[in-house]
């Protein structure tokens, strides 16, 4: 497990396998929350936060509890319940002890509990057979990639506000078409990660 390996996992998660634009995880917050920059950042921060704690808790559970006891089939239900409970707990703690942080990202927490981005990253870490550090790096990358896509898109949508758009395309349709164009630009990163370390 070298630094190069970790950096390539990080870059892959942010750029080439961007969670939103390539893997389609976390579309709802992406489409719904990316209109204004500050909400976009707040939501992304919350996602990074939850992804990291979720991984930190679910990875050991899978490795030390589920797999050794042949209970792999309980993965889905255990993971989602753990994540839901964890986020609830964190929200309460934040509300009471870290009000500033709560105001910045706490409000988005219920929304991401049942979001495919968080559950997705915890399952992916297991599927890719990453060890603990690799899983944490992957989740960090996933969250950062999420943030990158959100922030870029907030900029795009800001421009859309002042454009003349045909009636049927207004709102969701044009947002999706714009997303497809941003996705194309990310396709350009395809050869980057492997090429970087050749």
């Amino acid at each position: 497990m070298s630094v190069t390996n970790l950096v390539s996992i990080l870059l892959a998660a942010i750029l080439t396998n961007n969670f939103i634009l390539s893997k389609f995880l976390g579309i709802c917050p992406f489409l719904g929350v990316s209109k204004k920059l500050d909400t976009a950042v707040g939501m992304s921060a919350a996602v990074i936060f939850v992804m990291l704690i979720a991984t930190a808790v679910t990875w050991p559970i899978q490795t030390y509890l589920l797999t050794p006891n042949d209970l792999d089939y309980l993965q889905t239900i255990v993971f989602i319940l753990v994540i839901a409970a964890l986020v609830q707990f964190v929200e309460i703690v934040l509300k009471k002890y870290m009000v500033g942080l709560y105001n910045a990202l706490g409000v988005y927490l219920p929304l991401i509990t049942t979001n495919c981005a968080v559950l997705g990253v915890t399952i992916l870490n297991i599927d890719e057979k990453y060890n603990f550090i690799e899983s944490m790096v992957n989740s960090l990358g996933g969250g950062l990639g999420f943030m990158l896509a959100m922030v870029l898109f907030a900029g795009v949508r800001g421009r859309l506000e002042t454009s003349d758009i045909p009636k049927s395309l207004q709102g969701l349709p044009i947002t999706l078409v714009s997303a497809s164009l941003v996705a194309i630009s990310f396709l350009g990163f395809q050869g980057l990660v492997d090429g970087l370390f050749k």
Partner: protein, 229 residues
């Protein structure tokens, strides 16, 4: 609750077109974009999701007076997760090809907003038979939309439909981009635009990603402020 008595037929068919979960309610967007690269995968996902939807709607409706409001969401999630895992095991045992094709998205059905959304907005408040029909109808609507998107992307992207070659590339070459992620966003956007146009013709609202269908709306403080927009 205002208009209570929707006929069973209306409940069943609502999900097909009028309240199509993908094109009108805009729920379940993640699997839609991911799985609609081929028509066949769309059907596989649609059937799996429908099975979970019907099962979870039925059970949640049965238990709706027993589940305390405070633990509503965790209880729903547990039941849904249970069904998803059971379907996953059955698919692995009896239709492994579909399981391989759907991959992680089969497991992600558990956080599919359609399922949690219907549990919250319908099954939790209605009797068992309407809930089952609602689940079936929404599932069918989901499958129809997946089939539509999957077919468009497959035909334009690889020149096949359900694996049978439709466009051998002699006149227009299949455009790979439709199978890749940008194609997904693009086709989805245009389909919603089309649905909006039809809805406008009937005097209905265009589809939005508001807090309406979102299952977490009650717990989200942003919803009270009018959403995250």
């Amino acid at each position: 609750m205002a208009k209570k008595q929707k006929s069973l037929g209306e409940v069943f068919t609502a999900g097909f077109i009028k309240e199509n979960p993908i094109l009108r309610l805009v729920l379940g967007t993640c699997p839609t974009l991911a799985v609609s690269t081929m028509a066949f995968n769309g059907i596989g996902m649609g059937i799996a999701a429908t099975a979970v939807l019907v099962g979870s709607n039925a059970v949640i409706s049965l238990l709706r007076n027993v589940i305390p409001d405070k633990v509503r969401i965790p209880a729903y999630i547990t039941i849904i997760a249970g069904f998803v895992t059971i379907i996953q095991m059955l698919v692995k045992a009896y239709a492994p090809a579909i399981g391989e094709a759907l991959g992680i998205y089969l497991r992600l059905i558990v956080v599919n907003c359609i399922i949690l959304g219907r549990a919250e907005s319908f099954a939790g408040k209605n009797r068992v038979l309407p809930s089952i029909l609602d689940g079936l109808g929404m599932g069918i609507g989901f499958t129809i939309a997946l089939l539509l998107m999957g077919s468009i992307r497959e035909i334009l992207g690889s020149g096949t439909w359900f694996g049978l070659t439709v466009n051998s590339g002699s006149t227009i070459e299949p455009m790979l981009i439709f199978i890749l992620s940008p194609g997904g966003f693009f086709v989805f956007g245009l389909l919603i635009a089309l649905a909006n146009k039809i809805a406008e013709g009937k005097g209905k609202e265009p589809a939005t990603l508001g807090c309406g269908g979102c299952p977490m709306a009650k717990s989200c403080s942003k919803a009270a402020e009018g959403g995250c927009e």
